[in-house]
């Protein structure tokens, strides 16, 4: 029987060394940083730009930065963006066409290579979200070229969650706070803050990750403190929801009364879909310049909350009411997503709860729908 592989940890200087090693390899490092009173994801110049000493408080419709008593860089829950901003960008030009004076039309596809990203600080819930978008955008008959180009070769550095927020429910969805078995990643860190400073349990999940780990000033550890931090996080989720058999539950809610109650509160502003790390819908628009000799096709994020999303020529929007639009979003996310892609579309990150201006809570809605369905079943 083989002895278990020794565990390794690095300290804060090791984190800086990791960052520098990524830059030396020509990677564009994207990670969390403080901007506009939030922890956003952005291209970083150094590890010093990480949100050291900042945490967040989240609640339905609310998000506030709060200073921490330690220097932890990853002790915060999800912010206003997700990694899809970088993998599935809000706007992308797909092609452009030019008409010459003799009438010849030349079409050029936009296929410039994407930056070689390293994502630093991917939460397990967000790692699952990336896997969900991989399935949606690259695993079908038609691989999405924009996503595919950006996704290929991304170096993923997961940081397990030790500080869940008030709207988090990853344990209910089975996506966190620790890294689930079988996850695909390059490096995984677990951050703990102690009297000796920050330390990071570190392990590799790919050959490139192992190679990079070998360059870092790591020392052996028993990993006990890191394991305890993750286990503690699992017990401090802000929310939980009964996620059993959501597909069947959602399929039975088409005429539920609860949708009317949501519609009274829903602004149909679309924020939930924009912040959702798995929502992937886009619309395409062709534009021309004044001469009419140059045309471009762009795509941009769209949303089932946009009236134009279900616009049919000569008919108008098929899903006009807030009831029908919210129902479409939720029943797809939690129900028909299984039929289409074989999994839930929800990873329990809680963004749709925090960034809904009126604080509509997906866990509360599921619970209410389940209660209504149970009551109807009992009759």
């Amino acid at each position: 029987m083989n002895a278990p592989a020794p565990l390794a940890e690095i300290d804060e200087s090791g984190l800086a060394a990791l960052f520098d090693a990524l830059v030396r390899r020509g990677r564009t490092v994207v990670g969390p940083t403080v901007k506009d009173d939030a922890i956003v994801l952005a291209e970083l110049g150094s590890a010093a730009e990480l949100p050291h000493g900042w945490g967040v408080e989240t609640e339905p419709g609310g998000y506030r930065l709060r200073p921490r008593t330690d220097r932890a860089a990853f002790a915060h829950s999800a912010g206003p963006q997700s990694w899809k901003t970088f993998l599935h960008p809000p706007r992308a030009r797909l092609w452009q066409a030019d008409r010459a004076s003799d009438g010849t039309v030349t079409v050029r596809e936009d296929d410039a290579p994407a930056p070689r990203y390293a994502f630093l600080g991917v939460r397990p819930c967000d790692l699952r979200a990336i896997a969900v978008q991989d399935r949606v955008l690259t695993a079908g008959a038609y691989r999405d070229p924009v996503y595919g180009r950006r996704r290929d070769g991304v170096f993923l550095i997961v940081v397990e969650c030790t500080e869940p927020g008030g709207v988090c429910f990853c344990t209910s969805m089975g996506t966190g706070p620790g890294l689930p078995e079988g996850s695909a990643f390059d490096l995984a860190l677990t951050e703990t803050a102690g009297p000796g400073g920050l330390s990071y349990l570190i392990r590799a999940g790919s050959p490139e990750g192992s190679e990079l780990l070998a360059e870092l000033p790591a020392r052996p550890t028993d990993g006990v403190r890191a394991r305890a931090a993750v286990a503690g996080a699992a017990g401090r989720m802000g929310r939980e929801v009964d996620a059993s058999d959501l597909r069947a539950l959602m399929a039975g809610t088409m005429t539920a009364e609860r949708w009317n109650q949501v519609a009274d509160r829903c602004l149909t502003c679309g924020n939930c879909t924009m912040v959702c790390p798995t929502c992937f819908c886009t619309t395409t628009e062709e534009t021309t310049d004044l001469t009419g000799d140059h045309a471009e096709r762009w795509r941009r994020w769209d949303s089932c909350f946009d009236l134009d999303f279900s616009h049919l020529h000569g008919v108008g929007p098929v899903r006009s009411s807030a009831r029908s639009r919210y129902r479409q979003w939720l029943t797809h996310k939690l129900g028909t997503w299984y039929d289409q892609f074989g999994s839930s579309g929800c990873v329990g990150c809680g963004r749709c709860i925090a960034w809904c201006p009126v604080g509509i809570d997906i866990t509360e809605e599921v619970t209410a729908l389940r209660a209504e369905s149970g009551a109807a079943g009992a009759r």
């Binding site: 509160r265 502003c269 679309g270 062709e286 006009s320 009126v358």
Partner: protein, 265 residues
């Protein structure tokens, strides 16, 4: 084939929206190459006779003489596009619709008998069919260029009708309501500005007017906005004032202001 003939008309307005056309500095040369300026007094006193292929109409109908003039313009125009909150919703001057005109005419003007004011300031679409309404106070110059280009190419302009929230999210602006507690009309306001104010940490004040109302229940849920705006420190009177600016008489915003006043009672 001759270039399409453009006309730019002014009704009750501040001129800011037609100035947007002159603000298209980089595109003005190619614009004048593709279009023949038939009537645009802010740019040139030279005029060409009707008919016009594209009329851009700024301003609201607020004076007696406007009524006949807008009908004549409609008759002379193949396409009529209204630009800006005055033309699409009556403008800030529609605040006068809330109280009887004679009450303050005599306070403002020495000889009110010279005036030819209508009781209400109304959008162009209340009087003639309009082919497209471009929102904003003022309009956005990229959107104006898109509308002109689209009409030249006989295609639908790419002018999204969703909320300002979409624009914040697309440009990566952190929500000022959720993260800062700043009152913001973004969720009920028509996109188009590129979410300018939130990008500078300010709440949206609705200058592009309400998101569209559609048969079947689509429209701005201003009633759900009330508790949110209150939470972020606005009184009912503040809320009514917030809706009563450049699009005060856009029906959904007028109703929202009434809802706020109702709540105060």
């Amino acid at each position: 084939m001759t270039a399409p003939r453009l006309a730019v008309w002014k009704f009750s307005s501040c001129d800011g929206c037609q100035l947007t056309l002159l603000d298209l500095e980089d595109e003005l040369v190619s614009l004048s190459g593709e279009l023949e300026i038939g009537y645009f007094l802010e740019a040139t006193s030279d005029t060409l006779p009707p008919p016009y292929d594209l009329s851009l109409v700024e301003g609201s109908v607020a004076a007696g003489a406007d009524l006949e003039r807008i009908r004549w313009i409609r008759e002379q125009s193949r396409h009529l596009v209204t630009i800006g909150a005055c033309a699409t919703a009556g403008g800030v001057q529609a605040l006068r619709n809330l109280s009887p005109l004679p009450e303050y005419q005599s306070v403002v003007y020495a000889r009110p008998d010279y005036l030819d004011s209508l009781d209400d300031s109304t959008p162009i679409s209340a009087h003639v069919p309009v082919d497209f309404e471009l929102r904003g106070c003022p309009i956005d110059k990229r959107q104006l260029l898109e509308v002109i280009t689209a009409f030249l190419a006989d295609r639908k302009p790419d002018i999204p009708t969703h909320s300002v929230c979409f624009e914040c999210k697309l440009r990566g602006t952190t929500c000022v309501t959720v993260a800062h507690g700043t009152p913001c009309l973004g969720p009920v306001t028509h996109a188009g500005c590129g979410a300018l104010c939130p990008a500078y940490g300010r709440g949206c004040y609705g200058c592009f007017g309400p998101v569209p109302t559609t048969p079947g229940g689509g429209g701005p849920n201003t009633r759900a906005m009330l508790p949110l705006l209150r939470r972020d420190g606005l009184s009912e009177a503040d809320i009514a004032r917030l809706y009563r600016t450049f699009n005060a008489e856009a029906p959904e915003f007028a109703e929202a202001a009434r809802q706020a006043e109702e709540e105060a009672r």
